[in-house]
Symmetry: C2
Subunit: 382 residues, 2 copies
């Protein structure tokens, strides 16, 4: 039943249900579609994708991707605005190389994606967390922080935030762009969940404002196709893309991933990607329903969370006398796990939060996990 | 005849023969083998290679690679000594992140691989070129330089050097390891051409000494299979590999290239890679013969070069009154091109050298290119 034991990066006991895991199950990885796409992509005479590629990414793939994004984002994206990456983790690393020095300050949301924080720590950056609320990054708080320190860049997860699940409102997007423009600050938007909307569409992805300020929008096939492909893109003003394409690593290596790009080119052109995204949306929508239904029954009243409208996560607030790092020990004993809120804090705060995800388990295991977690919460909440 | 116009990173006029290009022709990219390997790798039930992978690289692939390298290197390589990379350019970038600060010094060979130098420039490193001779890096010169400055690391290309074609002798390898050990300096060996030996075998790859000093040996599938795969490996002491595997980018991304790793796993296990390397050796051996035969006829006597015993390159010395940057202009007019020596110098020296390669063109085009270059040389050498 639990096929997670077969996944390389997941190392948990067989009876454990780990509600914190932010990745798709084996059954949601479209092996057969990718197999067919590979067979198609490799049935050609000219193996240009086996040679050193264009620094920016090969043009045929950027054209396909631009067309796909134009459909998903509902505004025109051009191939000259795209640089192909090895996914958002690598893109963040690349951005650090080209914009930061050790000791520089970066503003992140509080909470933020904990492994992005680790990438910034590896670059010896000074991480400052800016508060969020139900509409995303708190712009007034951002302004206050700017009075004391100017960051090299602001890192934001605008749609279906990891872990907070909220989406930055249109008005705040516009304000954020204006502030970054006025202060000449790079805005880095991690839009990896943007295409996974289950109820209403989010505001335009941040790439929409790429000509208004120094801005890089990061997208990835990790959540909409398969993380093991290590394929994604940067979207930015074409002049900035040209500049970044001159990096030594790109000239030497010949683009970040020409081979996989060509296989994904086939996946997109055949229409499979759009079909697959729609399937993911259906599956995740149903899992959210199970989550809401079962948690309503199993969780004590003091537990607060927002019904997710997209992405992977549910950010659960517990009473402030709870430290979820300790609660986690008790949970593990009862074979259920989650990620404690402090993981996502740049200041070791948010101790009364937990991150849950509905992406990993099929409905019935998810339901059982929520029951187990509910029992733990009932025991520990007064 | 010239299928290079189909390669994304190659942008030269149709009638030009560019003898400086360091990459294989389309006809040497084993499209059909990779197609079969992909079909095989993707015909399984468990798509673990589509999920986030192990930080270090998935174990089944590391086991296959360790076995392959044990055969190629003629000493035992273990899977715990390997970390899978996106090729040597990315590995160098990763090493810079984890070992250097802007302003640090790195020792390179003079000459060295020009695009590695660009990666170091992007990291704002202070590049110091150490002289070479016919046996590789000049160890006495290295010692002298060490008296005035200790580098963060030494970057060397020990076998079939790019561009100098020479191979570091066994005795010098041992001395280099001893010096790095005594001075606690990281030794980074770019061994991308090690497996492409055409006459006699080179001394053991530097990974052989991985327990003797802080050392990382870089290998890649770019020259022995296909550069577009963006797949390679680091070989080091297993403790160092463990430490590097904890990088934020690897934890977040789940290994550098799990999908392509699994396809190349099939290529190796089926025996295709060894067969392909043997084919490459045959082809390149024949091209070297053509090169030597035709250049003996066409080049003036003052032109000096060493018969290459492996790798891709011929490093040609011209009389010291020649500046090959200017000579290049004349050559291009006559539809032949090369890379001027100054590209490979950290000090804008080596102006009377040119880098040629026999890897890119089939024999008859290579012959024609050498004839054209010979005519240019005859005109400009007194």
């Amino acid at each position: 039943m639990n096929d997670h034991t077969l996944l390389p990066q997941v190392n948990i006991p067989a009876n454990m249900i780990h509600l914190g895991l932010g990745q798709p199950t084996n059954s949601l990885l479209p092996l057969n579609d990718i197999k067919n796409a590979a067979a198609h992509a490799l049935s050609v005479n000219n193996p240009f994708f086996l040679a050193y590629g264009k620094e920016q990414g090969n043009i045929n793939f950027r054209e396909t991707l631009a067309q796909f994004l134009t459909g998903q984002y509902a505004y025109t994206v051009g191939p000259d605005q795209l640089l192909i990456t090895n996914g958002n983790s690598q893109a963040l690393d690349f951005i650090c190389t080209h914009f930061t020095h050790p000791g520089d300050t970066v503003f992140v949301e509080e909470p933020s994606y904990f492994l992005a924080l680790k990438i910034f720590v590896d670059r010896k950056l000074n991480i400052v967390g800016i508060p969020m609320d139900g509409y995303g990054l708190d712009i007034d708080a951002l302004k206050k922080f700017l009075n004391s320190k100017k960051p090299t860049f602001v890192y934001t997860i605008p749609a279906y935030h990891n872990p907070a699940s909220v989406t930055l409102s249109l008005q705040r997007r516009e304000e954020l762009v204006r502030i970054c423009s006025e202060n000449n600050i790079l805005l880095v938007a991690d839009e990896v969940y943007h295409c996974l909307s289950y109820t209403e569409k989010p505001p335009p992805s941040m790439g929409y404002w790429a000509d208004q300020c120094l801005l890089i929008s990061l997208g990835s096939f990790s959540k909409i196709l398969a993380p093991g492909l290590r394929l994604g893109w940067m979207q930015a003003n074409s002049k900035l893309i040209q500049k970044l394409s001159k990096a030594g690593i790109l000239e030497s290596g010949g683009g970040f991933n020409p081979f996989t790009s060509e296989i994904v080119n086939s996946v997109i052109r055949s229409g499979i990607l759009t079909t697959h995204i729609n399937r993911l949306k259906d599956v995740y929508r149903q899992r959210i329903e199970v989550f809401v239904e079962q948690s309503t029954k199993s969780f004590p009243e003091q537990v607060v969370f927002q019904y997710p409208s997209g992405g992977y996560f549910i950010w659960v607030e517990l009473p402030d006398y709870i430290d979820t790092k300790f609660l986690r020990q008790a949970a593990k004993t009862d074979n259920v796990d989650f990620l404690p809120g402090s993981f996502f804090s740049s200041k070791n705060r948010l101790k009364n939060y937990i991150r849950l995800s509905f992406a990993f388990y099929p409905k019935e295991i998810l339901r059982e996990g929520i029951k187990r977690l509910g029992n733990i919460l009932l025991k520990h909440l007064s």
